[in-house]
Symmetry: C2
Subunit: 366 residues, 2 copies
């Protein structure tokens, strides 16, 4: 497990880099003040016409336009001050290894008489800070409410206070291990799995555990709980990059399921200012529109909203690949969608006994 060995310390290294970025930001402001300048910062613009799809990186990125905020401009004083307060707050959080939520940041500001009009304003400032330092909010300990889960033969080592050095194998609890701050911040120690299967629905995640897919297919199972939270997307990326595991994504067979897979693979436009959240080599292996035909799955008619969504996907550069465009066209033609559970039509274990092996074999060839 050479990939594995080299991965130890990745989390601690990343945390050091985040803290260094925050420190650099602070030092820059100090230097400006000492030099008698009005403090200012510059960051890439996140306006819609500066968001581009990068074919090489296979994700959305920000272009060359930038914005400058200077305390010389009276209208900039407020957002600049808010940004610096936010940097200070998350710097404290991260150094003390405490976590927070976007909601918490909004209320915490009031303890400092730092006023935000509403949470929208403080959320925007967090995104500004992500843009300035180039790390996502989870890197500086601001986590969302949503949690997804993982199960499989991976041993991790915690780095959070009170748990430093403690290890846990992720098969310890067969309902799945939540992917929260502690797991996100853990180092990978030993992995017996050779692939990752990300699953949209909780019921199916449990089915896969019960049918021992983690053993039969040497797989780590990840429950995305619908659209995968960012912490889960970055965790999937780590499994792929640090451990060299291929990632397969299994969603409902409809345009929304396709998009859950695509966001894991290519990221989202509103995270164009960030890296390390997507897994470009992950593969969507079902439920395909062509599976609905081939497996004669129970299906529902596409709604008008579904069809509208397919038209949008058709125009999206991320969907230009062969499988994607073929499946979009198939959905359009058959005008049907099917859920992952539809395979139960052939018995509860069919999906594990028949469909999954067929798909895994096929996935390696495209």
């Amino acid at each position: 497990m050479s990939k594995n060995e080299s991965s130890r310390g990745a989390v601690r290294e990343r945390k050091e880099k985040v803290l260094t970025s925050l420190q650099n930001l602070g030092e820059r402001i100090y230097r400006q003040i000492i030099a008698g300048e009005f403090p200012w910062i510059k960051m890439p613009s996140r306006s819609i016409n500066n968001i581009l799809y990068d074919q090489k990186l296979r994700q959305y990125i920000l272009g060359n336009r930038s914005v400058r905020r200077s305390s010389r401009n009276i209208r900039h004083i407020r957002p600049l001050t808010q940004l610096i307060w936010t940097a200070m707050f998350v710097n404290d959080l991260t150094r003390q290894s405490k976590t927070s939520t976007l909601r918490d940041v909004f209320y915490s500001a009031q303890a400092y008489e730092m006023s935000f009009t509403d949470q929208q304003e403080s959320d925007n400032l967090i995104t500004d800070l992500e843009t300035v330092i180039g790390y996502s909010r989870e890197d500086f300990n601001v986590f969302p409410e949503e949690r997804s889960a993982i199960f499989g033969d991976l041993t991790i080592e915690y780095t959070i206070p009170g748990y430093e050095g403690r290890r846990l194998n992720l098969t310890s609890h067969p309902d799945g291990m939540m992917i929260g701050p502690a797991l996100t911040g853990a180092e990978f120690i030993d992995c017996k799995a050779d692939k990752v299967i990300a699953i949209e629905k909780g019921g199916l995640f449990t089915r896969f555990i019960e049918e021992r897919v983690h053993i039969k297919h040497k797989a780590l199972l990840v429950h995305t709980a619908g659209q995968a939270p960012r912490a889960t997307r970055s965790f999937l990326r780590r499994l792929n990059q640090e451990l060299g595991l291929p990632v397969y994504i299994f969603t409902d067979g409809d345009p929304w399921g396709m998009h859950i897979a695509m966001v894991i693979i290519s990221g989202s436009a509103n995270a164009a200012h960030l890296r390390d959240l997507n897994t470009p080599d992950a593969k969507w292996f079902g439920v395909w529109a062509s599976d609905i035909v081939e497996y004669k799955l129970p299906s529902d008619k596409l709604t008008e909203l579904d069809i509208k969504r397919l038209h949008e996907l058709r125009k999206d550069p991320r969907y230009e690949g062969k499988i994607w465009s073929r499946e979009i066209e198939t959905f359009m033609r058959i005008k049907k969608k099917a859920e992952q559970e539809a395979f139960s039509r052939y018995g509860l274990t069919y999906i594990v006994d028949e469909y999954l092996p067929a798909k895994l074999e096929m996935a390696d060839s495209y």
Copy 2:
């Protein structure tokens, strides 16, 4: 821990009872057929005018009206057959220790050429079966998608295949342990905690773990993730009844938060046909309307929808208690609501250092 000792085997006993109920149902049908009768069943009516609030049980129950379904009546043949198929299907599930979802049951029926018009119809049949045998669907292995989580010093022993006899302490993973089929079906072995705190929001659940509330207050922490799923409600009840632990509920300070607490305490009207889902002695300890005043919490104005909801709660017999009616009137008067995170206004740890101890002390006196 005498309560504790006596709790071992509770899960296995309950499973035996569920299977016996299912078997009794089957035998009744067989006996009717052998006796030359058209098979029939009788069950309590779930129509709205047969749902009563029982002051003694402190939950909604079904009254004396019952419905009879007989295969002698041509309009009853379909639902009766569907009910018997459902009983057969979940009997297999439970005996094989496999779990399923409502969605899965709908699709699985197709494998038996048992047609349901839509999922609404199969969901209704599951509820019928709950009514007939007197156990909830989680008891016969039909689980919802939602999962909540627990963290604290409780050691459990799994009973599911592949994990029988394996033990786990629920502090093993500091993001929390998911409450799914495996945990729901586990026996309690040893518990060092002396209370349970159920928390609505995930961010706060994580904060409580980080601030070691489980150690400082010897508490098991449960994340309800909004309205607690039924498996979590029955798990809370077990912690209360089998281990004798008091349960405190901590929600947002608005009518919706009140109701999250109330459903844990008194159950819901649409589970009136079931027992063992509620914890009558659990206490709602915040965020109260009067806390918004006393702690000068950042707050939002009640919306029209909030106020409409408060008017509904006023008429609800479950809200007749002193604290409840006082807090409803206070909400009405101040016309404000506050979230759990609002305490961050006094710093991130204020809620743990100041508010929580004050509330725990007060809770024991009402």
